[in-house]
Amino acid sequence: MIEAINEALDVTMARDPDIVIMGEDVGYFGGVFRCTAGLQEKYGRTRVFDTPISECGIIAAAVGMGAYGLRPVPEIQFADYIYPGLDQLISEAARLRYRSAAEYIAPITVRTPFGGGIFGGQTHSQSPEAIFAHVSGLKTVIPSTPYDAKGLLIAAIEDNDPVIFFEPKRIYNGPFNGYYDKPAQPWKKHAASIVPEGHYTIPLGKARIVTEGEALTVLAYGTMVHVAEEVCRQKGVDAEILDLRTLVPLDIEAIEASVRKTGRCMIVHEATRTAGFGAELSALVTERCFYHLEAPVLRVTGFDTPYPHSLEWAYFPGPVRIGEAIDKILSE
């Protein structure tokens, strides 16, 4: 996925001279996760550059550059550290088009690694997507495969609205099925690791059907797509798994069509439960598919605690928690 992200940045930078990349350690060093490796050498220091350690400053400068007419792609090193930039994202980037009646826009894409499963502890594991999904004017995108990562990132950069692009760092190097005690798999054995060269996009606001099924709809995104897929496979459940890919705007049509078909719905995310994005999904499914439901909509999520270090695998919504929820939904 890292290479796919790097390619997406390379492809868009080559096409559009107004794209600039900025963030902590993204320049000469190429990023702490290597996502921007080689780009400064190729495009020069005025298009790919390091910044002071100031998330507020990074987002704010990007907003100002966007007002000028550039298309900045700032990086926040970990989603856990995006909070100092929240005022600039929520009060400024998200509102610029609205408050100026489209005189000024913020065509910026904030890339940030997110999610747990890497022993990152409290401040290298968080999944704060619900904060952003709650803000009118922001788009929230989360890929789960290298193919999607490249296509979605190019689409995000070319989009004229501000996009928060969460990169699940647990699956940077390979898919993760939730079995942390088994050897990690590299992407090259996975079908979705085949990434076409050059330019292609995946439209924002469109979910991907991972598996088709009749018994149960699973709504997931990021790392949890792979975990849910593995559990359903092992249990032999005929599940229809939707990788949402974009939380805002949400592909409500795909969700409705699937839940109306299966009559059952499970929502899976790593983020904490209360007021998480799963609550919004659950409410939408209940409001719009109520008479098709044969069982309560269940959420499988992280617990309502800060992300712990030593008890990571007790916190992570892994195969056991997902399996129990599936049994419960199917038993109704």
């Binding site: 100031s54 704010a60 007002a67 408050r99």
Partner: protein
């Protein structure tokens, strides 16, 4: 406090008790005011260094006060911008129009024509004179108290009033609180209610101009109270790191609503001096001296345009009126302050200067003031034909949902339909006139 059983007042300890310093302004309501502690210095005293100078050489300018107009109403010293009489008269007129505009809009709020207004009385030079030293396509990132920039740049006054009334003529479609103007055409950035956010954005804009090899620069305005926000620190850091072609104007009007400048850290240092700490050129200027404001901004603009880097300018002035129409300053400061303010009134000082030059007289001033008031009155009437706040002449409901995103997503389309339906339920016979 369990680990310090005898912590009360430090008793039982041989160490001195610590005490918390909470700043307190010199004068509160009813106090007699004596500003003799404010060292304004002599006009013409400060040297004018080369625009490419090293910030480390500017120590005295960050702690001193650049003044051009002396008590004799003449221009003095190296900072005299040597403006011709026509430019000075234009500056004076822009100030007169801004002051007349403020008076009328304030009254309009009191008459219930709108919800809110903020005057810039006493601070006109910090926006009008300063912005006149910039090119018209230099980008400005103002706070909410620089309406003088828009008026100086020829933005139609009726558009400002439409915005204040949130009427059907309002270009911002009634979405924004009054005075939060926006005009891309006039290189005037959309004003935000969130303080100081515009300062690092201005730096980003300036960086973009530099990235593209443009010649335009950016300037931002922020009150001294808002310099306490983290954004201002980010702005200074980024401006210095990237040598951004930007001017950071700090309008020190002594008051942030009810808290005096001491709560922004102004008791022990100047706001200009914060620039030096960042390695940014720093000037401290008499903000009620139109010539000094112009000269300082021009110096900083030349510096930025020559790739010599950013400048922080502190305009030392006084907020003569309340913070806003929602504020009553008699609740926290002495009414005498305004009268006793040692740097006087920027409009009167510029007027007296022009008269001293033989380029103006009281009669022409009276005519100009009368014409300004008449123009504002006529424009207000014209804008009122488009409606005033709460009288039904607003933009259609559907526009509330537009421009959240470039395109209307399904959930906003559904909510827009709901809003229209609610209106039909509320007004089954059609919307009342």
């Amino acid at each position: 406090m369990a680990d310090r059983p005898d912590s009360a007042a430090g008793q039982g300890s041989n160490k001195p008790s610590l005490s918390l310093h909470v700043p307190e302004p010199h004068y509160r309501p009813g106090d007699a005011v004596d500003f003799s502690h404010v060292d304004a210095g002599e006009a013409g005293r400060e040297p004018r260094p080369d625009e490419a100078c090293d910030p480390a050489e500017m120590r005295d300018l960050a702690y001193g006060l650049i003044r051009v107009l002396g008590d004799d109403d003449r221009a003095h010293g190296a900072w005299d911008p040597k403006l011709d009489a026509d430019t000075l008269r234009t500056m004076l007129k822009n100030m007169a129009v801004t002051r007349a505009f403020d008076e009328r809009m304030f009254r309009g709020q009191r008459q219930g024509k709108t919800s809110f207004y903020m005057k810039c009385t006493g601070e006109e030079a910090t926006s009008i004179s300063a912005s006149m030293a910039l090119a018209s396509d230099d980008m400005v990132f103002p706070s909410y108290r620089q309406q003088g920039i828009l008026l100086s740049r020829g933005y139609p006054m009726i558009e400002m009033i439409n915005q204040i009334y949130s009427n059907r003529g309002d270009k911002l479609k009634g979405r924004q609180l009054p005075i939060m103007y926006s005009s891309r055409e006039h290189s005037f950035f959309t004003i935000s209610g969130n303080l100081a956010t515009q300062t690092p954005q201005a730096v980003g804009w300036a960086m973009a101009s530099a990235i593209k090899g443009d010649s335009r620069i950016a300037a931002t305005w922020v009150g001294e109270g808002s310099t306490a926000e983290g954004d201002f620190h980010a702005a200074c850091t980024f401006a210095a790191v990237y040598n951004a072609p930007v001017i950071l104007n700090v309008v020190n009007n002594q008051w942030a609503i009810s808290s005096f400048s001491g709560f922004a850290g102004g008791e022990r240092t100047t706001f200009a001096a914060r620039g030096l700490g960042h390695g940014i050129a720093a000037l401290r200027v008499d903000g009620n001296d139109a010539l000094a404001c112009y000269a300082a901004e021009r110096w900083a603009a030349n510096r930025a345009r020559a790739n010599a880097g950013p400048t922080l300018i502190e305009f030392f002035t006084y907020r003569a009126e309340g913070h806003s129409t929602s504020d009553d300053p008699s609740g926290y400061r002495s009414a005498q302050e305004r009268e006793e303010w040692p740097l006087g009134d920027p409009v009167m000082r510029l007027k007296r200067h022009l008269i001293a030059l033989g380029e103006w007289d009281e009669e022409r001033q009276e005519t100009m003031d009368r014409e300004a008031a008449e123009m504002v009155r006529a424009t207000t009437k014209e804008a009122e034909a488009n409606g005033i706040l709460g009288h039904g002449l607003h933009h259609p409901f559907r526009t509330m949902f537009e421009d959240v995103f470039e395109e209307l997503p399904w959930h906003l389309r559904e909510q827009a339909e709901q809003a229209v339906k609610e209106r039909e339920i509320k007004f089954p016979e059609g919307v009342p006139k």
